[in-house]
């Protein structure tokens, strides 16, 4: 009996060691510098709120950490869309003026490989900027660095929250340099193929409410 207990304890310790190794794996490197941050080309820079309560509309299956906003918005509970969330938000330019609006659809991706440090989300943006036209952005995002450095730190904390200053690129593809594919649909962007990167700044996170203070940024490089 005591050998069985010892084996079970070992199994638990082994699984815990594996989980710790996954979180603190030094071979999973975070990409810190976006290739678009050193571009000489003209860029469109758009800022937006990442906190659901600061968006126009945010909805998901209603059971996730992030609560839908406004409260009575239709939820995406059907089996085919329950791993999807949708957000409509105001897009602001570099001078913090309203430049248009954007809608983002995010779905958990089957290409997620936690062993390789990849928590992948397939997402698309539709952005309408009256002064420029409409844009469609296709990207895969990797949320593993955010989970590791922010969400896990909040979970470890006795207050179940995290405060600090985390900045990182979410975009991980499909471009070869880890950039998003951007297509212009109308206006002066009509017919243009571009590249983009979405990044995020988090200042506060709670395990109960999710993002408490966070902003997003889209940088689109013009051809």
């Amino acid at each position: 009996m005591k050998y069985l207990v010892s084996l079970l304890l070992g199994l638990l310790v082994g699984a815990a060691l594996f989980a710790a190794g996954l979180v603190y794996n030094p071979f999973i490197a975070d990409r810190t510098v976006s290739p678009l941050s050193v571009t000489d080309a003209e860029v469109i820079s758009l800022n937006f709120a990442m906190v659901p309560a600061e968006s126009i509309v945010y909805t998901n299956d209603g059971e996730s950490v992030q609560a839908p906003h406004p409260e009575k918005v239709l939820q995406l509970w059907e089996p085919t869309i329950r791993m999807t969330s949708a957000m409509a938000t105001v897009m602001r330019d570099a001078r913090n003026q309203v430049a248009g609006f954007g809608v983002k659809f995010m779905s958990h991706s089957e290409s997620t490989r936690l062993l390789r440090g990849e928590a992948i989300v397939d997402s698309v943006w539709y952005v309408y900027l009256p002064e420029h036209g409409s844009i469609f952005i296709e990207q895969t995002e990797n949320y593993f660095p955010l989970m590791r450095e922010v969400a896990f730190s909040a979970w470890k904390s006795s207050a179940n929250s995290w405060r600090g200053n985390w900045f990182g690129d979410l975009t991980a593809g499909p471009g070869a340099l880890g950039t998003a594919r951007v297509s212009g649909g109308s206006g002066r962007l009509d017919g243009l193929s571009m590249e983009g990167v979405e990044s995020m700044t988090v200042k506060a996170f709670s395990t109960e409410a999710g993002l408490v203070s966070a902003d997003g940024r889209l940088i689109i490089e013009m051809p």
Partner: protein, 207 residues
């Protein structure tokens, strides 16, 4: 006495060895489980695609109004959808109307979400659709402003992601009023018919 002590030491050693074996097994089991069990498994609905007589494939989607409406964003609305919606009142957004929907396939099953934007912008009017089907990908369609004879509007597929990344083609939108007297029936539906055509690959030069 010495034998008893020796037996006890042996027992402790075996206990310790069992514990370390457990650790190794735990590490291996966790790694195998994480590798073998998918972290994400999207629910799929079989696609209902028909072959068009002039080539390409056609697929029908629809939106039941009002039950599939997630958001109606437009300036100065009397009734906001959803309740409590605060649409930006800035001048730059004055001609913009955006709607979020759930979309259904021909079996009336919800298969995705979509956004439709109609904007009036000094003669550069825009009507765009983005359809997002989580297990398959997304479509970006730019519609003609004026409806055609028959009440439908035609649009070009401008871009797509994943499964739709290699497609070009067209999509039509049409408003169909519900004429049944059923209780709880929708007031109507927006019908979307996408016609996909594969992109032509450039021919290899003949040597």
């Amino acid at each position: 006495m010495r034998e008893l002590a020796h037996e006890s030491k042996c027992g402790e050693t075996i206990l310790l060895k069992t514990f370390f074996l457990g650790i190794v097994l735990g590490l291996v089991a966790a790694a195998v489980a994480l590798y073998a069990i998918p972290a994400v498994d999207q629910e799929r609905e079989a696609s209902i695609v028909t072959v068009s007589p002039n080539g390409g494939n056609a697929e029908m989607f629809h939106v039941n109004i009002p039950m599939d409406r997630v958001m109606v964003g437009a300036p100065e609305q009397v009734v906001s959808v959803p309740p409590g919606l605060a649409w930006p009142a800035d001048e730059i957004m004055s001609g913009v109307r955006a709607e979020l929907f759930k979309i259904r396939n021909a079996r009336d099953t919800v298969v995705g979400v979509a956004v439709r934007t109609a904007a009036q912008n000094n003669g550069q009017d825009v009507i765009d659709w983005v359809l997002h089907l989580p297990a398959r990908g997304s479509l970006f369609v730019n519609m003609e402003i004026a409806p055609r004879e028959g009440g439908y509007r035609l649009g070009q597929i401008r871009s797509g992601s994943r499964e739709f990344g290699q497609f070009s083609g067209v999509m039509t939108e049409r408003w169909v009023v519900n004429k049944t007297a059923e209780e709880d029936a929708p007031t109507g539906r927006i019908e979307l018919q996408a016609s996909y055509v594969g992109q032509l690959a450039p021919l290899e030069p003949v040597e």
